[in-house]
């Protein structure tokens, strides 16, 4: 496997008085898609938020690209090259699609070439370019959120449940888009929908109860149905 891009070592996170992450060890290698699976409430979102500095780890360390970012403020983490697509998408609904992407382009202007590339798999964005993002459908908002994360090259993209609430047809579109993205980007993808990620992921980690309970290659897990059942239990059935 290639070099390590992001490394969480024994990370504990408290939210208020609740002890949510209880020693997370997670490695994200450079290039390709690392999938983070786990049932509801396992702590996936909290892990991403801790990486992003939106919660701060009370113990353990997060290192990115060789430097320690455990206690760094969110903007610094972002500027270090991590983009974040939150579970709630975090769209600025009052702003147009263009303005949403414009704010994500820290260089100042949106790179035309890259934009064409994005339009290639998220054609809807072109169509609604000057619409307020709040008027878009759920799937289109998700596209805006992902486009915002890739409008400039980033070293790592964190994406939290992009298929949440999307129709199967749209999910097919998303798979195509992720195939395209995968070629050039490094992605840490949180999902519950195993069928969505089993063909996409390169490496996989499974969380439960605030810990990583399994990590390895996606291809292995995809073949081993027993293991899937054991690790993912209900969540597999519920997604058919």
């Amino acid at each position: 496997m290639s070099e390590t891009l992001l490394q969480l070592t024994g990370v504990h996170t408290h939210i208020g008085e609740y002890h949510i992450l209880q020693g997370v060890d997670l490695t994200v290698p450079k290039d390709g898609i690392t999938v983070l699976l786990g049932r509801n409430g396992a702590g996936k979102t909290t892990t991403l938020r801790t990486i992003m500095g939106l919660w701060h780890a009370s113990r353990g360390s997060v290192s990115f690209n060789g430097s320690d970012i455990t206690q760094a403020p969110t903007p610094d983490i972002s500027c270090a090259g991590i983009a974040y697509v939150p579970e709630s998408m975090g769209i600025f609904s009052d702003l147009t699609v263009r303005e949403n992407l414009y704010l994500a382009a820290r260089q100042g202007e949106i790179d035309e070439k890259r934009l064409e590339w994005i339009f290639g798999f998220f054609a809807a964005l072109k169509k609604f370019w000057n619409q307020p993002a709040g008027t878009l459908s759920g799937g289109q908002k998700q596209m805006v959120a992902i486009a915002r994360a890739i409008v400039e090259p980033r070293k790592l993209i964190l994406i939290d449940e992009p298929t949440k609430g999307l129709a199967p047809a749209i999910i097919q579109g998303m798979i195509a888009a992720f195939r395209e993205l995968k070629a050039t980007e490094t992605i840490l993808l949180v999902e519950q929908n195993f069928n969505f990620v089993c063909s996409l992921g390169d490496t996989v980690a499974v969380m439960d109860g605030g810990r990583i309970v399994h990590s390895g290659m996606m291809s292995e897990l995809a073949e081993n149905r027993d293991r899937q059942h054991k690790l993912l239990g209900l969540s597999l059935d519920s997604h058919q």
């Binding site: 009052d94 702003l95 820290r106 054609a123 459908s137 596209m143 749209i170 579109g173």
Partner: protein, 339 residues
């Protein structure tokens, strides 16, 4: 690939929802009042007076609503910045008496302009200090915020007494700003027209900044989801400080304009406006600058018409207006989307 484009792009084009109803209220209200008032010249005078007052209230309220929207901080001491602005204005207006009394538009304008600039600089800096010392420790703690900003207001008002004395300070209007233009039978007071111009300038500038500049877009984005703004790599703290300073400076501007309008200053000049300003930003929708503008115009126009048609009713017209609006739209005219 083709399926992607099909399914994703062919979704129905959403209609751009421009909510124009609130925009219509002001002109419709004004037109409805015309037959009630009866005489056209009186109506013109009342309307201009209402608009002028509304513009001044808007200057005071816009900063407050923006600060609330972005930072989730309601500064109960905002009125203190209005007072400080007005009193700082006197530092220019009183010593440069001959410029004020001169019969020259240019000299009058420049002395008032200078007073405004000084007031805005001082209140802006004060806002910076206020944010650092008073507000910063209580972000996210509403109860403490209310108490502490209230306390800040008491201290600020008392400090004005200490610095400028407890007496009222007369603040005469510049020579050429006095009197009225007579057009037909309608008398349009000059200073009210000036206030309308200044208010419109402020509104248009704010509108342009918020819609056309990166900082403006960031502010609007931050109002909805500050965390995401940070995740995109911007320091929201800097925005906070900037907006707090700008909002305080606007209050200072409103203070000078309002002080000249009243022509006498007391330390409570800003505190007295607090209730009106709150009503305006509630009507507009907490955090919405556009709503605040319409709210200010509405409150002031209704007060003026009511004062003419039913003086007793005018005492509570703003409360009645607020209740009516909230019954129609419980979040105000333009509710602000919050994550």
């Amino acid at each position: 690939m083709t399926t992607t484009q099909m399914t994703l792009a062919d979704a129905e084009l959403p209609k751009v929802r421009v909510d124009i109803l609130p925009l219509l209220i002001v002109p419709v209200l004004a037109l409805l009042m015309l037959p009630l008032v009866g005489s056209f010249p009186t109506w013109v005078t009342l309307t201009v007076a209402g608009l002028a007052m509304g513009m001044m209230v808007f200057m005071m309220a816009s900063g407050l609503t923006l600060i609330f929207g972005l930072m989730d901080v309601l500064n109960f001491g905002h009125g203190a910045f209005v007072s400080v602005g007005a009193f700082t204005g006197t530092l220019v207006l009183l010593p440069m008496k001959n410029w004020v009394e001169a019969d020259s538009v240019l000299m009058n304008l420049s002395v008032v302009g200078l007073a405004i600039v000084l007031a805005m600089v001082v209140t802006g800096l004060l806002g910076w200090a206020f944010e650092r010392i008073i507000i910063r420790p209580v972000y996210g703690l509403h109860l403490k915020q209310i108490l502490i900003t209230m306390g800040g207001m008491i201290v600020a008002e008392q400090l004005i007494h200490v610095i400028w004395g407890a007496e009222q300070i007369p603040l005469p209007l510049p020579e050429t700003f006095r009197g009225a233009f007579i057009i037909g039978d309608a008398a349009l007071e000059k200073y009210r027209l000036i206030a309308v111009c200044v208010g419109l300038t402020v509104f248009i500038t704010m509108f342009l900044v918020l819609n056309r500049t990166k900082v403006g877009l960031l502010i609007r984005a931050g109002v909805e989801n500050g965390e995401m703004v940070e995740a995109l790599g911007y320091r929201i703290r800097r925005l906070f400080v900037g907006v707090f300073m700008a909002g305080s400076a606007l209050a200072g501007l409103g203070g000078v304009m309002w002080g000249l309008y009243k022509e006498t200053l007391t330390a409570a000049i800003g505190g007295e406006m607090t209730v009106l300003v709150f009503i305006v930003i509630i009507i507009g929708g907490l955090g919405s600058v556009g709503g605040c503008f319409i709210g200010a115009m509405l409150v002031a126009l209704v007060a003026n018409y009511a004062g003419f048609l039913a003086p007793k009713l005018a005492l509570v017209s703003d409360i009645l207006l607020m209740v009516t609006i909230l019954l129609w739209r419980p979040q105000g005219l333009y509710p602000v989307a919050k994550r």
